[in-house]
């Protein structure tokens, strides 16, 4: 079953903007923040939602939570319609907004109590989350205004997950966390996944998406450009290979080996190339030769991400889709 589905979900801002404009004033036009988004997030998976600033990530999340109303299309969260059943959806979802704003005049504990009361479900996961994110009872008694950015982010994570939601929507969850806390957070995600919870995860940090997500959707200028398993996305990336033969008389011939491209030889006798797909033919080609050193760099999501964006026009500050913009067709959009 799908935890979240969208079908042709679109959002345009600026409808009904005046058609007559004064000279010297910026012309207001309809801005399509999200166009025809169709995705399905499976129950129990960690789903990455990627895109640069203004690509439509926050718009999508706000549509799912009922903070925005769709211009067209539909979406269901946990089997409930985002327009008709928004309140019911929010009772089963945990949400961490990007750059969360908190009540500075409350203590951390009072804030978590208040938000827990608003949710109306017991905060069953709070003790465990406090422990794993290393927030002590003493720290919780301090006012939120005295918290560092990282501590605020921890409070944000706890308020989103303390009631053990079936679906957690997390917008830039590791922003402000130190590397140790990031690891603790990834472990929390792993546990949630093991418990069958679904995570919808938006981030700029591609390495962490690669680390924690099962699948990713990439949006560009309001449109979906890719939706794939992280492993599949990486499988088709070219990996940089560097090979140093022990002797210049015993250099493997890599010409014509399937998956190998960009073959070159450096002045000091090293071979460099790019390798795509199955490594078997490459390994077979070098077998029997005496190799002093071999490095195959792992493929990174960053390269896949950049490749999908490399032919994009530069985005504006808010980078939202102008009505006329024609982004490329999605790459292997499939479940």
């Amino acid at each position: 079953m799908d935890a979240l589905t969208t079908k042709g979900l679109s959002k345009a801002y600026g409808r009904g903007a005046p058609r007559v404009h004064l000279p010297g004033h910026a012309v207001a036009t309809e801005v399509r923040a999200l166009e025809d988004l169709s995705i399905a997030v499976r129950e129990g998976e960690i789903f990455g939602f990627l895109g640069p600033n203004g690509a439509g990530k926050s718009t999508t999340i706000r549509l799912l939570l009922g903070l925005l109303h769709p211009t067209s299309g539909s979406a269901q969260v946990l089997g409930l319609d985002i327009v008709r059943d928004s309140v019911a959806i929010r009772s089963r979802v945990g949400y961490l907004p990007g750059g969360i704003a908190l009540y500075d005049s409350l203590s951390g504990e009072a804030l978590l109590d208040y938000l827990g009361d608003l949710t109306g479900r017991p905060s069953v996961r709070r003790p465990e989350l406090l422990d794993r994110l290393e927030l002590s009872a003493r720290t919780l008694r301090r006012l939120v205004r005295d918290y560092s950015r990282g501590m605020r982010q921890k409070i944000g994570i706890i308020q989103a997950l303390q009631h053990d939601p079936e679906l957690a929507i997390l917008d830039e969850p590791t922003e402000g966390l130190d590397p140790l806390m990031q690891r603790a957070f990834y472990a929390i995600l792993d546990d949630l996944k093991a418990a069958g919870r679904t995570i919808f995860f938006s981030s700029h940090v591609l390495s962490e998406v690669e680390r924690v997500c099962d699948r990713v959707a990439i949006v560009r200028r309001g449109r979906l450009v890719a939706l794939q398993e992280v492993a599949t996305l990486l499988e088709h990336r070219k990996r940089n290979v560097e090979l140093r033969p022990e002797s210049s008389d015993d250099v493997p011939s890599l010409e014509g080996v399937p998956g190998v491209s960009g073959l070159a030889r450096t002045a000091d006798g090293r071979l460099t190339c790019q390798l795509e797909g199955d490594v078997g033919p490459f390994l077979a080609a070098i077998a029997g030769h005496r190799i002093a050193d071999l490095t195959i760099e792992p493929a990174h999501l960053e390269e896949a991400f950049l490749e999908l964006y490399e032919d994009a026009e530069p985005d504006s500050d808010d980078a939202q889709t102008a009505t006329q913009a024609q982004p490329p067709a999605p790459t292997e959009v499939a479940r």
């Binding site: 939570l65 903070l67 925005l68 109303h69 009772s91 907004p97 908190l102 009361d117 109306g120």
Partner: protein, 267 residues
């Protein structure tokens, strides 16, 4: 209405509420004392022609009778400011302030509908206003007792006076909340509500002091706060109805507008 939101709102406003309650009670205690001390002298001055007759009906009040002195207390800027702390200040910041700070989305990410949020803030605003005005009534009773004019006070009509005040300020608060749910920033919501309140007050005072401007008074909300008439048994049902209609229209607007609005990410 949401209990958790109401409790949090109450806790956030309780110090302000305590200060305003004490201040308005003290102010209301003072007015019967003024009436007792200076009422007859003021009447002699007006009768002698030293003070223009127009000044004897400032905002529908006077100092020649206890009901008139109490009425002055209700329309005086001191009382207006004290009640406005909640009817204007709290009401306008309730939603627009949360939105501006970015905390509204933390509330609305919970299973709380926008209408519930609105109704909770409306109930809180009316409760604060009702408490402040009840303190004014308590002050009036205390002042009348201390100055020995309690026998002139029609006790059975005090609830009507309280209701009239609550209706006026509930209408102002409803306008403030309607503005609050309509904007992402506090400044325009506060600006609009303050403008309505100040212009309304100006029209009422101008009409009470200048006979040629009397025709403007019906356009003022404050015209329908008839404290003297309430205490003299001459309360106008139509005045109460007009205030109720203004409040209902503002509430209706907010109940339709707030759920329809797009709440984009804070910039």
């Amino acid at each position: 209405m949401n209990r958790a939101l109401f409790v949090r709102t109450w806790r956030a406003q309780r110090l302000k509420l305590l200060i305003c309650t004490i201040a308005i009670a003290a102010w209301s205690t003072f007015l019967p004392v003024i009436y007792k001390s200076f009422g007859s002298q003021m009447k002699a001055l007006v009768d002698s022609g030293v003070i223009p007759k127009q000044l004897t009906d400032f905002g529908g009040g006077d100092v020649f009778s206890l009901p008139g002195a109490i009425a002055i207390g209700y329309i005086h800027p001191i009382a207006i400011i004290l009640v406005s702390v909640f009817a204007v200040g709290f009401a306008t910041s309730a939603v627009a302030g949360e939105r501006q700070r970015g905390t509204l989305e933390v509330i609305l990410a919970r299973p709380v509908s926008r209408r519930t949020v609105y109704v909770t803030f409306l109930v809180a605003a009316i409760a604060f206003i009702a408490i402040v005005l009840a303190a004014a009534i308590a002050g009036t009773l205390l002042g009348s007792g201390l100055s020995g004019v309690a026998s002139e006070l029609p006790l059975e009509r005090l609830p009507l006076l309280w209701l009239n005040g609550v209706l006026l300020w509930a209408a102002v608060a409803a306008i403030g909340l309607a503005a609050s749910v309509s904007f992402d920033r506090l400044a325009p919501a506060l600006g609009i509500t303050l403008a309505v309140t100040v212009v309304s007050y100006f029209l009422e005072i101008l009409g009470s002091l200048w006979p040629d401007a009397k025709g403007l008074q019906p356009y003022s909300l404050f015209h329908y706060l008839a404290a003297r008439d309430d205490l003299n048994g001459a309360a106008s049902a139509s005045g109460f109805a007009i205030l109720a209609v203004v409040a209902v229209v503002a509430i209706g607007w907010a109940l339709v507008e707030f759920p329809r609005r797009d709440l984009a990410a804070p910039s």
